[in-house]
């Protein structure tokens, strides 16, 4: 541990961790390079595309532009932390059911963004969903099946699927 390094006590996908990181380390790099959690993607690197979306204490953030330092004492949830006991999360199941992806690069960010929205507003209207996902870009332009996946996930969660 060099003099500049800071101790980062955090929880990632339910696991308590204590890491030494540089102050300038970005959350995305710690997740991908240190912890091997490569589901979150780097793409635009300027908080526009959403491919790096993870949840910090339940709120969606761009891991590419948030310092790992901000995760101290907080809970980080990535796409790898969604499934429970080999069972996919209802939002993941919904994306499979509607084929809500093509190349799949934006999918982890999309799913995390949708989870954040539905945790907060289970009965979000189609307008709310579109507005919320304005910040997640799919270069394959598969938006219609992504919106369909959100509707499927909303019904599953309303019917009692464990979110």
């Amino acid at each position: 541990m060099t003099a500049r390094q800071i101790t980062l006590d955090t929880t990632v996908n339910g696991r308590a961790l204590s890491l030494s990181v540089e102050p300038e380390a970005l959350l995305l790099d710690v997740l991908r390079e240190r912890l091997g959690l490569t589901g979150s993607k780097r793409s635009c690197d300027v908080q526009v595309c959403g491919a790096c979306t993870v949840l910090l204490d339940g709120l969606p953030v761009s891991a590419c532009s948030v310092l790992a330092y901000e995760a101290r004492g907080r809970r980080v949830l990535t796409i790898e932390g969604l499934a429970r006991d080999e069972r996919l999360h209802p939002v993941q199941e919904a994306f499979l059911a509607t084929a809500g992806f093509q190349c799949g690069f934006c999918t982890p960010g999309m799913i995390m963004a949708v989870k954040a929205l539905l945790d907060d507003s289970p009965s979000a209207t189609p307008e709310d969903v579109r507005e919320h996902l304005r910040g997640n870009i799919c270069r394959c332009t598969g938006y219609a099946s992504i919106l369909a996946a959100v509707a499927v996930a909303q019904r599953a969660l309303a019917d009692g699927a464990a979110g």
């Binding site: 102050p23 300027v46 526009v48 901000e70 963004a113």
Partner: protein, 290 residues
């Protein structure tokens, strides 16, 4: 990748002010990082020290002022909090409407009002909506605290009146007069807005004609600005007429100090400002009548 730096965690405004004085141009105030970190990734700034204002007690406060006439917004309050706060939604609905439209959900979760105002990015939403409320900023510095109107704080692109040994502690937003109704509309084809328009209409007691109109336009020029000539021209206008469409709206942007950039030519922006002033007036007039 970011260049190396150290992070400092002041717990009082006085400590932050002392760190500002100590580091000078090698230090930067850091809150949500949604502007600063992007600039630093581009190699701008060369800051060796980030001063995290989020560790200062009280900077995330959001309260009704003791006299009940203003809402005091701590500098570290996020756009998301502004968007959702019952106090803001009820007492400053125009501010909540603006906050809901800032960038995207991820930026709103981390970006702060104070950071936004201090960074002074010209293509930004908050200053425009705050100007029609007559907001004032509170600064703490080595030689004491001072307050000044937001209009005087906004100096130019990426330039505010914040002194080298000062920090922004909070923003006081006076409550709109009784019966007032507002609207914030924006337009853009990129992530940042091309034009943002805020309108606050104060109707007479019959909700028929205007007692006062406040209009501000942002993003088109170096800083967001009120349009005093437009406000004067609207004096006494009937709400029903505004709702149907103000004939002079098309010329409302003519006097703007517009800048040609990636978002469009100066002429285009002045024209769009007029279009959105007209739409915002119509929407606010409808809200003021109901």
């Amino acid at each position: 990748m970011l260049p190396p730096f150290e992070i400092h965690q002041p717990v009082t405004a006085a400590e932050a002010v002392a760190l500002r004085a100590r580091f000078g141009e090698a230090g930067a105030l850091y809150a949500g990082g949604s502007e600063l970190l992007l600039a630093m990734k581009e190699g701008l700034g060369g800051f060796a020290h980030l001063i995290d204002v989020k560790t200062i007690a009280g900077l995330a406060g959001l309260t009704l002022a003791p006299d009940g006439r203003a809402v005091t917004i701590g500098a570290a309050v996020t756009h998301r909090t502004l968007e959702r706060s019952p106090l803001v939604r009820e007492r400053l609905p125009l501010v909540a409407e603006m906050a809901r439209q800032v960038a995207n959900a991820r930026v709103r979760a981390v970006g702060t009002l104070g950071g936004n105002l201090c960074f002074a990015e010209p293509h930004s939403d908050p200053p425009t909506a705050l100007l029609v409320h007559g907001a004032r900023v509170a600064l703490a510095g080595a030689s004491g605290a001072r307050r000044l109107p937001l209009a005087d704080f906004l100096v130019g692109p990426y330039e505010s009146a914040l002194g080298p040994d000062e920090i922004l502690t909070h923003v006081d937003v006076p409550l709109p007069p009784a019966r007032a109704a507002g609207a914030y509309l924006k337009f853009g084809m990129h992530e940042r807005p091309t034009v943002g328009v805020a309108v606050l209409l104060v109707p007479d007691e019959h909700r028929a004609a205007l007692a006062e109109a406040r209009v501000a336009v942002g993003c088109v020029g170096p800083v967001a600005t009120r349009l005093p000539a437009v406000e004067s021209a609207l004096a006494g206008a009937r709400l029903a007429d505004l709702e149907a469409g103000w004939p002079d709206a098309a010329r409302a942007g003519e006097a703007l100090d517009a800048v040609s950039d990636l978002h469009g030519s100066a002429d285009y922006k002045r024209a769009m400002a007029g279009v959105f002033v007209g739409r915002a007036l119509a929407l606010a007039a409808r809200r003021a009548r109901s």
